[in-house]
């Protein structure tokens, strides 16, 4: 009888084990990367029909979030502005900018291509349909837009800044003090806890963390972690 396997095959199992290990790790990474729900993909930045710049409107012009997202503090759903909200200003300002052609199509009956159809903005932040998220429950309790949407006031084109995964939600629900702000500061994108404390000294509060804890105490904030908080 002769050896049926060549000598090098003695190291084969080890090699296979090493390869299999690397492949498994790769597959795990690939799954993590590709199978992550797109709702959680940070950096999604589609082109919009009108290149609306939050930077100009918020940072330079100082518009409040609620000027356009007018129902964010009364409804679960934060509305995108209706056409006439835009038209209110833009029938006077920058009226002839070619970028505003879709708005004219929608709002301006004298415009050549007028069809009266609403503008279709590309959706960026989308929670899955089995998730119930209520904007008013958050902004009325001291959680800023910034906590979830990032520095929108610096964005020329809006992109997704945070992952919006369940784990991410839970992080804040378990430790809301990291994100709590005085109610007056919820829509203030240049809020800074230290500056706030300088301007409004609080008894025995010196750090942002302490301020968060105090607000949690004052506001009786006890976020829930059970399923029905978001799933029903």
């Amino acid at each position: 009888m002769a050896n049926i396997f060549p000598r090098w095959s003695n190291f084969l199992p080890l090699k296979i084990a090493v390869c299999a290990g690397s492949v498994a790790a790769g597959v795990a990474l690939a799954i993590t990367y590709y199978a992550t729900p797109k709702a959680q993909v940070v950096g999604y930045q589609p082109a919009q029909p009108i290149p609306f710049s939050h930077k100009i409107h918020v940072d330079q012009l100082g518009l409040d979030c609620r000027y356009c997202h007018s129902f964010v503090d009364v409804s679960g759903h934060s509305n995108v502005p209706s056409g006439n909200t835009c038209w209110n200003c833009h029938q006077h300002v920058q009226r002839d900018s070619p970028k505003l052609a879709p708005l004219h199509r929608s709002m301006n009956p004298t415009f050549a291509g007028y069809d009266g159809k609403p503008i279709e903005w590309v959706r960026i932040h989308k929670s899955p349909d089995y998730v119930y998220f209520n904007h008013s429950a958050h902004v009325n309790r001291g959680i800023s837009c910034q906590s979830c949407h990032g520095d929108v006031h610096q964005m020329e084109v809006v992109y997704q800044a945070e992952s919006h995964s369940m784990g991410w939600c839970l992080e804040c629900h378990r430790a809301p003090e990291k994100h709590l702000r005085p109610l007056e500061e919820v829509y203030n994108f240049s809020y800074n806890a230290e500056d706030y404390l300088k301007a409004n000294p609080q008894d025995g509060i010196s750090s942002a963390k302490d301020l968060g804890l105090k607000l949690k105490e004052q506001y009786l904030v006890k976020p829930k972690e059970t399923c029905a908080t978001c799933h029903h």
């Binding site: 396997f5 729900p37 992952s163 995964s165 784990g167």
Partner: protein, 493 residues
């Protein structure tokens, strides 16, 4: 491993003559090592008898239609194609799961428990019994895996870190089940495979060069049969046996927790774990007999699987059957002693309610039929044994059916009472798993050594290195005993 190192301390030893029983021959007709090799490997190497094809092809077909087709339909359409309802949420699925997982237990018991208790008669049946375990667990696993509503999300059961930051409920008996059954399958597979490595080497060494030799070569891992390997190997085998023994007890205990930890009358009872384990062994041995008796004829293994083996198994069936019968009666007693109307009614309806026939089948098959094994004549008649074994298989299936279905169909509120009956798809899938089991077993007979060659050789009397050593053992009745026992022995003599 005999105590040869004792010779280092001669002073502590003295010899005493004790009457010895003759070591029983487990291999008849004084077959040689080579004959054993030839015989067992022959099963794999020779052309398969017509009967093999006759069994394999229909089994494979049934498995394909029943399991393959049935499950495809189930997953594509919904669990509704089975017969369950919003009253009886489990039916055939969990009945079959418990049935199959119970079958598996005999395999582990034969290979592990009998190994630990030095029951050498196990050697000629343990391989097949272990294979049976593996295949039964595969058949069993199909049911809980596919009975879930969204099988594509079954990975929620695995504790994988995820973006949702959500984990399993480790308090759930069902999660315990997932761990227990998967551990059981893994350990059984390791045990089975390790036990097979030397035999795979035997086949490898007999093969002509080619694909077969290559395949067996890979799976034999390059086994050489050196004593430096045997030494560790024996230890590993012992350890696995020692691990498997509590495991096998735990698995069916955990399965029984699915029921015992619930609030459902007729399930909520502390007697379940031992009762389930006994039942599993009971049903498993019946299945071993059901399979081994025909296989013994087909492959002419009468000299390896002797009447002694069959007799032993019949006795175990009698014992465990009686334990099971005791459990049934105790269950009734506890229910009626409880004074709780729900408990009493649950058992009343089992006995005389809508599924009285299932209860009757269970009682007569499981408790009454094995009683014939009190008689030696019955234990020697293969037809009787075969019939009883078949009865027990059926009876044990009905036991699970009775526990699950009759209970759920008549629970706490009469307003929700509704009976259950299986759908055709359900029946098909169950039959399919029987086909799958048989087909896998046929494949096993075809490709793998169905009897543990090395261990069978080891049970031959001349395998003892001192067998023909008259110098070493001038008198077989003389054994060396440790010094600390001298006094006792001397006073006795």
């Amino acid at each position: 491993m005999a105590s040869t190192t004792d010779s280092a301390h001669p002073k502590l030893q003295s010899s005493v003559k004790l009457p010895v029983l003759e070591r029983e021959k487990l291999i008849l007709s004084g077959r040689s090592y080579h004959w054993i090799t030839e015989r067992i490997c022959g099963v794999v190497e020779n052309r398969q008898p017509f009967l093999w094809w006759l069994l394999f092809l229909p089994s494979a077909l049934i498995a394909m239609i029943g399991v393959g087709g049935g499950l495809t339909y189930l997953v594509s359409t919904g669990v509704g194609v089975w017969g369950m309802s919003n009253r009886v949420f489990w039916g055939f699925d969990i009945t079959n799961f418990v049935f199959w997982i119970g079958i598996g237990h005999a395999g582990t018991l034969i290979s592990a428990v009998l190994f630990l208790t030095r029951q050498n008669w196990r050697t000629s049946i343990n391989r097949a019994a272990e294979a049976m375990t593996i295949f039964a667990v595969i058949c069993a696993g199909i049911f809980p895996a596919f009975h879930v509503g969204r099988v594509w999300f079954a990975w929620f059961l695995a504790p994988i870190p995820n973006a949702n930051a959500i984990w399993q409920n480790f308090k759930s008996p069902l999660l315990w089940d997932v761990f227990a059954v998967s551990t059981y399958f893994t350990i059984s597979l390791i045990f089975w495979y390790l036990g097979m490595v030397p035999d795979l080497a035997t086949i490898r060494d007999r093969c002509k060069p080619g694909l077969r030799k290559w395949a067996y070569g890979i799976f034999a891992l390059g086994w050489r049969g050196g004593n430096r390997q045997w030494s560790h190997y024996e230890m590993a085998y012992l350890l696995l046996a020692a691990l498997s023994t509590p495991l096998v007890l735990s698995v069916h205990s955990v399965v029984s927790f699915d029921f015992a930890t619930s609030v459902v009358p007729g399930w909520h009872t502390t007697i379940f774990p031992p009762y389930f384990v006994a039942g599993a062994i009971f049903g498993g041995f019946a299945m071993v007999l059901t399979i081994m008796i025909p296989a013994r004829f087909i492959y002419g293994l009468q000299d390896l699987i002797t009447m002694k083996h069959i007799d032993n198994m019949a006795k175990i069936i009698l014992l465990t059957g009686t334990i099971v019968g005791y459990a049934y009666l105790m269950e009734l007693f506890v229910a009626f002693y409880s004074g709780a109307i729900y408990e009493m009614d649950a058992f009343k309806y089992r006995i005389a309610g809508p599924y009285w026939w299932a209860y009757a089948a269970m009682m007569s098959c499981n408790v009454l039929s094995p009683q014939v094994f009190w008689f030696k004549a019955c234990r020697e008649n293969l037809w009787v044994i075969m019939i009883v074994a078949m009865c027990v298989n059926v009876g044990m299936w009905f036991e699970r059916f009775v526990i699950i279905v009759t209970t759920l169909a008549r629970m706490f509120l009469p307003g929700d009472w509704k009976t259950y009956s299986p759908s055709a798809v359900e029946l098909m899938t169950f039959v399919g798993t029987i086909g799958l089991f048989l087909a896998l077993f046929m494949m096993f007979l075809r490709f793998l050594p169905c009897i543990n060659i090395a261990e069978v050789k080891w049970t031959k009397l001349e395998s003892d290195p001192h067998f023909d050593d008259i110098e070493e053992h001038p008198d077989p009745g003389v054994v060396k005993i440790p010094a600390y026992q001298h006094e006792l022995v001397e006073t006795k003599s």
